[in-house]
């Protein structure tokens, strides 16, 4: 489904949440909407889903909701970030959604099983008695089984365990290539696995829209943690490492600098080094990182160390 947004705006009282967003989502594109809290991601998602009134227009394959709302809604599926704590059972919710979409109930079972749910066991359990992760899997199963042409995902795996997340990514990957996917997320693994385009929102404005790869390279961050003897403290402090309550020294560096930093620490701290961990952070940095800056800083320190 091709989605065309023109001048989509919205105010909440005196606060302008969206400033006339113009954005096109070509059929089959997979786009992540990212931005800090209050940037307008949720408002734009809700406008896309027709949940709120907004200025401007949104066309789905050239048609607006005002022209044919029900047909458009039937071609869209949504996984909200937080699943409601309904008293109705999983089976009752599934039957209702399948009836609205005119789809067989069995179509949901396969997706649910793939995500690690036991549809028969869960059918009689009220949704509110399930854990947040299981509720999210139920909603993900309903959306993935809908056969929708536009899939809107709002932090869909935030409450899922690692195995279910991988299964979810596989299921989305297995959707027809014509399916347009919109992902609203901060999570790096979701963005890496699900999208090829990124749209950045800030203060209700569209700041960037383009290929995901370059964008991610500029913003991915890694956490370096070092456990060292006391003799290494001045060096680590001078590099901007901070000591936590457990005695580990930590610093965040661009992912592109991770390997270099690890090698450098291993060689400079030497026999003062007790342990070293490096891991990618889940969240993206808000601003692009100047590549090479951290490396220069490290190299500078090494020069100082050597000179002293």
């Amino acid at each position: 489904m091709h989605v065309e947004m023109r001048g989509v705006g919205r105010s909440y009282g005196a606060v302008r949440a969206l400033h006339g967003i113009d954005l096109a989502l070509p059929a089959g594109s997979r786009t992540a909407w990212i931005g800090p809290n209050g940037s307008g991601k949720s408002t734009l998602t809700r406008a896309l889903l027709g949940l709120i009134r907004h200025e401007g227009e949104i066309r789905f394959d050239g048609v607006t909701r005002a022209e044919d709302g029900v047909s458009i809604a039937a071609r869209i599926a949504y996984v909200p970030q937080v699943a409601p704590r309904l008293a109705a059972s999983v089976g009752e919710l599934t039957r209702a959604v399948c009836a609205l979409r005119r789809r067989p109930v069995d179509s949901v079972s396969a997706c649910a099983a793939e995500l690690g749910l036991e549809p028969r066991e869960l059918a009689s359990r009220p949704l509110r008695t399930l854990s947040a992760g299981m509720r999210q899997k139920v909603l993900a199963s309903l959306a993935l089984a809908s056969g929708a042409e536009l899939l809107v995902l709002d932090e869909p795996t935030a409450s899922m365990d690692a195995r279910s997340r991988r299964a979810f990514f596989r299921l989305v990957d297995g959707l027809p290539r014509s399916t347009t996917v919109v992902l609203c997320s901060h999570r790096l693994d979701e963005i890496r696995s699900l999208v090829d385009r990124i749209a950045v929102l800030a203060e209700g404005r569209l700041r960037f829209c383009g290929a995901a790869e370059q964008f991610l390279r500029q913003r991915s961050m890694s956490l370096i943690e070092v456990r060292a003897l006391d003799g290494a403290e001045p060096l680590l402090r001078s590099l901007g490492f901070e000591r936590n309550a457990m005695g580990w020294w930590s610093s965040v560096v661009p992912t592109t600098e991770r390997a270099h930093t690890v090698r450098w620490l291993a060689s400079c701290v030497g026999d003062q080094l007790v342990d070293l961990l490096a891991q990618d952070l889940e969240d993206l940095g808000e601003r692009p990182i100047e590549h090479g800056a951290a490396r220069c800083e490290l190299d500078g320190c090494r020069s100082t160390e050597v000179a002293s």
């Binding site: 809700r46 949940l51 039957r95 009836a99």
Partner: protein, 278 residues
């Protein structure tokens, strides 16, 4: 409006209500009302004849017209705003569902939950009471009672739906419900006459206010059939009763709450259609 969509949402809403034990609560309230009516009414009528029965009906009518609006308001006054808060509307309207379909289904289920137990419990217990005590049942009064109660419930279900669509916060909605219920109960005959004397209000204005109150309309429609005296109907009721007769009172007691129900529900539906769902 698509019938399958309305039915799908109605089934889900019914499951929601059943699991949250609302239907059980309503059934118990109606059962207690009906049992009280049959046992006390029948027992008194066997002891002191028709006067006792009339007195029982009088008390019962008052309990009904005061309790049913409260029940209807609590069943509906937080439906829309709490569904917005917990994300239920966001989830449901992520599917092909029109707002009109949703509000029809939800209102229908909530009204049925309130009305059906009453419609079942009262006649069943009346028959049992007749068999048990061997006294003839005032069937005409019972049907009148069911008709008026249904209209009153429909009216306050619509008031509740309107409150839940207009008032965003659930706690404020609770306050609004209590205010509406208090005003409905206070602005009946005696309260208004007191206000008229205290505030030197124009009598016609007071009479009009009393007649516009659906609780007062229902009360008059019920009492005029049970004990149509000045002491029970009150000055306004007695005047209106003399003016339009018991038949007219019944018609007003059913028609006015239903008219209000239709108007207020339409406002609630329009508000839901125009407003945000989150």
């Amino acid at each position: 409006m698509r019938r399958n969509a309305v039915l799908a949402v109605a089934r889900l809403e019914f499951a929601e209500v059943v699991r949250s034990r609302w239907i059980l609560f309503c059934a118990i309230v109606h059962l207690v009302l009906a049992t009280t009516f049959v046992t006390v009414g029948m027992h008194e009528s066997t002891v002191i004849g028709f006067t006792g029965m009339g007195r029982a009906l009088l008390s019962f009518a008052h309990v009904l017209v005061f309790l049913l609006p409260l029940l209807a308001l609590t069943a509906t006054g937080q439906v829309v705003n709490s569904a917005k808060d917990d994300g239920a509307l966001e989830l449901l309207f992520g599917n092909p569902l029109q707002r009109g379909e949703w509000i029809v289904a939800v209102t229908g289920v909530r009204l049925a939950i309130l009305v059906v137990p009453l419609l079942v419990a009262m006649p069943v217990l009346a028959i049992l009471g007749t068999v048990w005590f061997g006294e003839p049942m005032p069937w005409t009064w019972l049907w009148r009672c069911l008709g008026v109660s249904t209209a009153l419930l429909a009216c306050y279900v619509s008031v509740g739906m309107l409150i839940s669509t207009v008032v965003r916060s659930t706690s404020r909605a609770l306050i609004a419900m209590l205010l509406v219920w208090s005003a409905s109960v206070a602005l009946i005959d005696f309260g208004l006459i007191g206000a008229m004397l205290q505030l030197r209000l124009e009598p016609r204005f007071v009479f009009l206010l009393a007649s516009l109150n659906p609780v007062q309309c229902a009360r008059l429609a019920l009492l005029s059939a049970a004990e149509p005296e000045l002491s029970t109907l009150g000055p306004v009721g007695f005047w209106v009763s003399n003016a339009i007769g018991p038949g007219g009172l019944l018609a007003v007691g059913v028609a006015w709450p239903l008219l209000l129900a239709a108007t207020l529900w339409s406002l609630a539906a329009a508000r839901l259609r125009r407003g945000d769902l989150v």
